[in-house]
Structures are given as C-alpha cells and as structure tokens.
C-alpha cells in the first residue's frame, strides 16, 4: 500500500512524457489514406461554423469550408483574376451602379432541386440581414432576380469592385432562416462537396456533390481536420493519417524537404501580418505613439530569423498581389527615437498593452515583438485566445493590439481597406474623415487607374498614421504526400480540392 502514491507519481510522469513523446512521428508505417482515395487535410484555420452568413466562428475557417461546400458567382484563380463559378458571365451598366450576372443553365443543389437566381438573391439578403463581417462590403446594395438565370445587383454609388466582393457570397437555397444552427449540421450544398459530418473546431467530413456543375470530385471523401499542435500535425502527415497540410512553420521545412515521400512548396499569399492598434485606447490615441511603437520593434531581424522561407518584409497594408497595392516608406527600427517619442507623448509605461492573438503558430513571433518592446520599457501581455473568443473580443474591441494574418478576399483593396478602415466599420478605433472620403471615392470610381491612385493615397494615410503595424507579407507553405495531386496551392490557404485525386501506393 505504501508504494501507491509513488506509483501514482510515476504514472503521471509517464503520461507527461508520453504527451511529449506522442508527437514524435517516425515515418509512415500506417496505411496511407490516399490509397482509399479519401483525402484528409489539415490547414491553419479552425472551422467553428459553416454558416457562411454568420458572424460567429471566425472568417477564415468558414471561408475554407464554404469554398468546398457552397458555390459562388465568381471566384479568383491562382493569380487573383476572377473566373466564373455559378455565374458564367457578368457585366456592369455604363455607370457601374448595377451589375448583371448570368448563371449557368441547369444548376442544381446537392439535393437535386434547381439552383435559380432567386436562391442567389435570398442568400444575399440573408447575408445582409445577419450583418456578419462581410456585410460591410455591400452598403446599400440590393439584389434582384431578372429571370431564373439572371441576377442584378444595384448599388447606390458606382461599385466597380462588386464582382470581387461577391466572391464572399456563398449560395444557399432560399428559405434558410437567419438563425439556423441545426440546418448547418448538414446544409444543402451548391459547391463541389457536401457535408457528411461536422464537429465544430475538430473535423469537417465531406463527400462529393453528385450535382456539382463542374462534375462530382473523384475522391471518395474530403476531411478537413483541425490539429492545432504543429508537431502532432506533422507526425500525422508522416504517418499518412493526414495527406495535405499547410501553414507549416519555417523551422520544420528543411526536415520535411529531406523526406522523399513528401512534397513541399511555399506560394506567395495575399495575406499580411496585420497588428492593429486600438486607437480607442487612451494610450494609443495619437499616431505619434503608434508609430513609435512600430519603430521600436526590430521586425527585420525577427523576420529573418523566424520566417526565412515564408516571410518577406511588407511595405504596404496590402500584399503586392492585391489590386490597389502601393509601396510605402519602410519604418526603420530605431528604439532610441521610439523611446524618446513615447516619453514626449507621455506614454504610460507602467500599463501593459493587451496583445491578443488566436493561433499558437504566431506565438514565437509575438513573443519576439513583446521582447523588442520590453527593451524600451513598454510592457505588453501576450494573450492567446481560443478562436471563437478571439473573434468575439476582436469585434468587441477588447484589446490594445490585435494580431491577425489578414488576407484580401477577391484580391481587391475594396474588401480590405474599404471594408475595415472607414470610421463606420468600428474595427480599429481609428477614425479619419479624410480617409473615409478617399475610401468611399475609391469604392465607387469606375476608372481602374483612378481607383488605384485613391487606394494608394488611402494606404499612405493608414501606413503613416500607423493604424496598425504591417510588418510582413507571408507565403503559405504546403506539404503533401506525393500520391495526392490535383488540388490548388491557394495563396490564402483555401485550397480547392474539387479536382484532387489520390492514388494508391
């Protein structure tokens, strides 16, 4: 009897060791999943919710799931150019106030019912009614069905970026209520895959949609699994439990490259590391303070050391592949000047900044940022939040500095700058009437060169006023088993699996 506690201690110890040991993968003994032509993928984003209109559950995971399950009018190809999806053609009116979309003929939902213009209109109205994060893209826009195959979107002001913005409109059958949690356990699909089972934050299993206009995918099933722990994720890849992973840390890439059965590739994304300052926080109200905080971080060294493969210093709030990108003057690392500026502005050094982020993979980067700030006496508490809480707090402005890897939907500044930075968006606490005017003008200008110029001016204000820090443009690294092919290496981390194939080994 006397030995029991000791054994208990030993037992716990074994568990602790096993917890760390289980993450060492030792190459594939287990059968590769691709042999059964079922593909398992594990990316960066956690899928909490597959209701495309909902504000809850983060946008990235929803976007990834949405692109597999639902069709859109148009979608961007690898270079960011819009290509037809459910719509086969679209054209603006002369003043660009309205856009006519023509749907493909004979479209069907996964349950066999016809997909008509009415469904597109209903999906759009639902998105506006729920007022989720993407609804801000469509201020005053209305949709109307002309016939079964034509939809007209009318906007109060000219909106040349509308087709790009509509890449975030996923088409559901009409009649889905705004609050329909139970419906989304097994929603009717209009994209390549339909839902087989869905466990929020854990696993989304999908099977081919036989009624997909592009032909049903050939894989048996597609599972998107969330594995937050990088070591566990890579172990799963090596053992064949998972076939495709993306968002792999740079430190792991050399080892993966040496594995002959794996393929590794990093593609430039249109996502920037975006670290907004909450300008509503008294200490961060002045642009001078925000700029000084930016100046105080040695991003050059951090990027070189932590992201040698996938990092590239950013020079604009937008990534270079996005329409409206214009390079800005880089902000040089100068801790001395930063400290002086903060002292002059009366910055409260004793009050820590709340730096919030969602995904564990960014922790080392943010620890290095906090370290840089600590050198000049600025304190920051690093708060890692669970994805759902992170989004809730992000929208409720319960942070001082927020970290996000922010992509640009539709590769157009309108969905990034135009959506997030006006005063009315209430996303950063920053409000500048001049910027509002520029963004409104850029949103409605019909001439592409003029829009580009206006977004360049807007970028400059956002950059110079340090609404946030924009340290890095990131690449997305994909690693996959060589017997899986045909999926796209998407720049945003939303690969398209509709043409994917898995061969047996």
């Amino acid at each position: 009897m006397s030995i029991t506690p000791c054994l208990r201690a030993a037992g716990l110890l074994t568990i602790a060791l096993a917890l760390s040991a289980c993450s060492i993968g030792s190459g594939g003994g287990a059968g590769r999943n691709a042999a059964g032509q079922a593909i398992v993928a594990s990316g960066t984003f956690v899928i909490d919710n597959i209701d495309p209109g909902s504000a809850q559950g983060g946008s990235a995971g929803k976007e990834l799931a949405g692109q597999q399950i639902y069709g859109r009018l148009a979608k961007p190809d690898a270079s960011g150019k819009l290509v037809p999806d459910l719509a086969e053609a679209w054209k603006p009116s002369a003043d660009a106030r309205s856009w006519d979309f023509t749907l493909r003929g004979g479209l069907k939902f996964s349950d066999g019912s016809p997909l008509t213009a009415e469904d597109v209109v209903a999906s759009f109205d639902r998105l506006i009614q729920i007022n989720g994060p993407y609804a801000a893209n469509y201020k005053g826009v209305t949709a109307k069905a002309g016939s079964d195959t034509t939809v007209t979107f009318t906007s109060p002001a000219p909106d040349p970026a509308l087709p790009g913005k509509l890449t975030t409109l996923f088409v559901l059958p009409s009649g889905v209520p705004a609050d329909a949690a139970s419906y989304f356990a097994k929603p009717v699909a209009s994209g390549p895959f339909m839902v087989e089972s869905f466990k929020p934050s854990a696993e989304l299993k999908m099977v081919p949609n036989p009624n997909y206009w592009g032909g049903a995918p050939t894989v048996k099933s597609l599972t998107i699994r969330s594995i937050p722990d990088v070591a566990a994720k890579l172990a799963a890849l090596r053992t064949g439990e998972v076939d495709v992973v993306w968002g792999v840390p740079d430190d792991q890439i050399p080892a993966l490259r040496s594995d002959a059965s794996l393929k590794v590739e990093a593609v430039p994304s249109n996502g920037n590391f975006t670290m907004w300052f909450n300008s509503g926080t008294p200490a961060l109200k002045e642009a001078k303070v925000r700029r000084a905080l930016w100046q105080a971080v040695d991003f050059g060294t951090i990027i070189k050391q932590l992201y040698p493969v996938t990092g590239q210093p950013a020079d604009s709030p937008l990534a270079p592949t996005v329409f409206g990108y214009a390079p800005q003057t880089p902000i040089a690392y100068d801790p001395g000047a930063a400290k002086k500026a903060l002292e002059e502005a009366g910055y409260p050094f004793d009050k820590p900044l709340r730096l919030q982020f969602g995904q564990a993979q960014f922790k080392p980067f943010l620890q290095a940022v906090v370290s840089s700030w600590a050198k000049i006496g600025v304190r920051a508490d690093l708060l890692q939040k669970e994805q759902a809480v992170f989004i809730e707090d992000l929208l409720a402005m319960k942070w001082d500095v927020n970290f996000q890897l922010l992509g640009t939907a539709g590769y157009d500044a309108a969905t990034n700058l135009g959506r997030l930075y006006p005063c009315a968006a209430k996303r950063t606490g920053y409000c500048n009437p001049d910027l509002d005017e520029l963004l409104a003008k850029a949103g409605s200008a019909t001439d592409q060169d003029e829009r580009k110029g206006l977004y360049a001016q807007a970028s400059r204000i956002i950059w110079d006023d340090a609404v946030g820090m924009f340290p890095m443009t990131s690449k997305v690294s994909y690693v996959w088993n060589e017997n899986v092919s045909g999926f796209t290496l998407d720049a945003l981390g939303y690969p398209d699996f509709s043409k994917a194939t898995g061969s047996g080994n």
């Binding site: 009897m1 006397s2 030995i3 029991t4 506690p5 000791c6 208990r8 201690a9 030993a10 716990l12 110890l13 568990i15 602790a16 060791l17 917890l19 760390s20 993450s23 060492i24 722990d229 990088v230 070591a231 840390p249 430190d251 792991q252 080892a255 060294t301 951090i302 050391q305 932590l306 080392p364 620890q367 290095a368 906090v370 370290s371 600590a374 050198k375 508490d381 690093l382 890692q384």
Partner: protein, 290 residues
C-alpha cells in the same frame, strides 16, 4: 560458530543499507533546493528577452553576447540552462506552498472529523468522498482553465483535491489515538478538547503526515508541469519546466535539448522525492492508515 557473527553482521549491514537508502534521494533533493534558492541569484534570466540571433544553439555553444549556453538555447534564443534553474525555483515554490496549504486544511479537517466523530465526521467524510469522485488533475485543469493564469490560481487548482489524502490520514490516526488510555486520563483530568487534541493526539499524526507530504510534493510538482505543458498553467512571463518542455516539442527532431533538459530535471526530482517518501513511509508511515 563463525556462522552466527557473519549472519548478525549481515543483518546489521542490511539495516544500515536500508537507512542509507534514503540518503541519496535526500542529497539530490537538497541540491534542487539549493539550486532553487541560490541559482536565480547567480544566473540572470529574463523570459521576455528573446535574442533571436542565438536561437536553437546546441549545448555548449557560444552565444552572440560571448557567453556559453551549457544546455543550448530554445527557438527564441533563450538559455535552456537558465530556464531549468528558474524552473526549479517555480516548481519548488509551488510544490512547497501547495503542500503546506493542503497540510493545514487536511489536518484541520481530518482532526476535527476524527476527534468529534458523530455528524461532524459524517458530513466531512461525505465531502471528502464527493471530492474524491473527481479525478484530481481534471478538476485542476478546469479551475486553471477558468481563471486567468497566475501562481495563486495554480496553487488553488492543485490544492482543491490535494488536501484529501492528508485529511484521511489525520482522521484515521486521530480516531484510533483518541481511544488510548493517556487520552482518557487527560480527559478525566479535565484537559480541554483543543489542548487534548493539540498536546496528546496530534503529535502522533506527524510521522505519517510527513511521509505523505513528501509524496504529495512530487505529485504537485508533476501536476504543475503538466498544466504548464498544456498551456493553462503559469503565465508566459514566468518560467516553468512544463512550459519549456512544451516549447521544445516541435523541435524534438532537430533540437532535442529544449525538452530533454527540463524533462530530465523534472524526472530526477520526482523520482528522488518518491524514493525519499517511500523510505519515510517505511519508517514512520502507518500502512493501515491509508
């Protein structure tokens, strides 16, 4: 004739060996205590400072500032040896505080239950039974997860179920000792219950409780490391072996020293404490009291 002395001296040697068996773990634990107290005074370490140019250096490498990293550096360039030393302080501090809290609460409840018996005993024993229905580590994870991480939350989380074993041991000892003649005699002399309990009964609980506390200490140190490993233990600004092990788990293939060094430190401490606890239990413990 020569057989008997040889047999006798063998017996004596065996007894001596048994006595000495507690010595090695005691010395090891003493070393840990020394490191926990004196180490941080000799080595400076700031978990917030991340010299990135020194990242992932192997043990013994020279850092950019000219120093040597005896156990290498982690993914953010921080010295692993310093983390082990500072982690020792955290572990020992949390272990001692938690065990003290558990000991005070457990002994108080156990003695009251054992001495007064009746409904007081029934209520307290049922409470213990209910708490024991929860796996201790699970309850600790829930508590640590609900509150913002801090040292006190961890101590609370680990104490919530930790006092139970102390209460049970104290109660069983008190239950039997209170029936002894000297207790009856003291009672007849008119000694007040509080003094009776303190002077005539509680001294008999010390032996088993000390043995118990040693083993509990090992469990607490391990549980704290577990919680920190899971990321719900101490805040990132403090140093804990569990956190260091977790930081290194992505690098087991390439930089094994990040996880190995604190893992080894943790294992050796827990095993030593366990061995010492067993020796103490064999000497002072009461098998039937558990």
């Amino acid at each position: 004739m020569t057989v008997v002395p040889a047999f006798l001296s063998g017996l004596v040697a065996a007894r001596r060996a048994r006595r000495r068996s507690g010595l090695v773990p005691a010395v090891v634990i003493g070393l840990y205590l020394l490191v926990a107290v004196a180490g941080p005074l000799l080595i400076s370490y700031d978990p917030v400072r991340t010299p990135l140019e020194d990242r992932l250096l192997s043990p013994g490498a020279v850092t950019s500032s000219g120093g040597t990293a005896p156990l290498g550096t982690d993914a953010l360039g921080r010295d692993v040896f310093a983390q082990v030393v500072y982690g020792a302080r955290t572990s020992v501090l949390i272990g001692l505080t938690t065990v003290t809290v558990c000991l005070l609460v457990g002994v108080a409840i156990g003695c009251v239950a054992g001495y007064y018996r009746g409904w007081v005993d029934s209520v307290l024993t049922r409470l213990v039974d209910i708490l024991q229905a929860f796996p201790g580590i699970l309850l600790a994870i829930v508590i640590a997860g609900v509150f913002t991480p801090s040292l006190w939350v961890i101590i609370l989380a680990l104490s919530v179920t930790g006092w139970i074993s102390f209460a049970r041991v104290a109660r069983s000892v008190v239950l039997s000792v209170r029936e002894r003649y000297w207790v009856d005699a003291a009672r007849l002399l008119g000694v007040r219950p509080r003094r009776l309990l303190g002077r005539h009964i509680m001294p008999f609980t010390v032996g088993p409780l000390v043995a118990m506390a040693t083993l509990e200490f090992a469990l607490v140190v391990l549980a704290e490391a577990g919680l920190s490993f899971l990321g719900i233990g101490l805040p990132a600004s403090s140093v804990s072996w569990g956190q260091t092990v977790a930081n290194g788990k992505e690098y087991l293939n390439s930089a094994w020293w990040i996880s190995a060094a604190p893992g080894l430190a943790l294992s050796v401490l827990v095993i030593s404490v366990g061995l010492l606890g067993d020796t103490l239990t064999a000497r002072y413990g009461r098998a039937r009291s558990r």
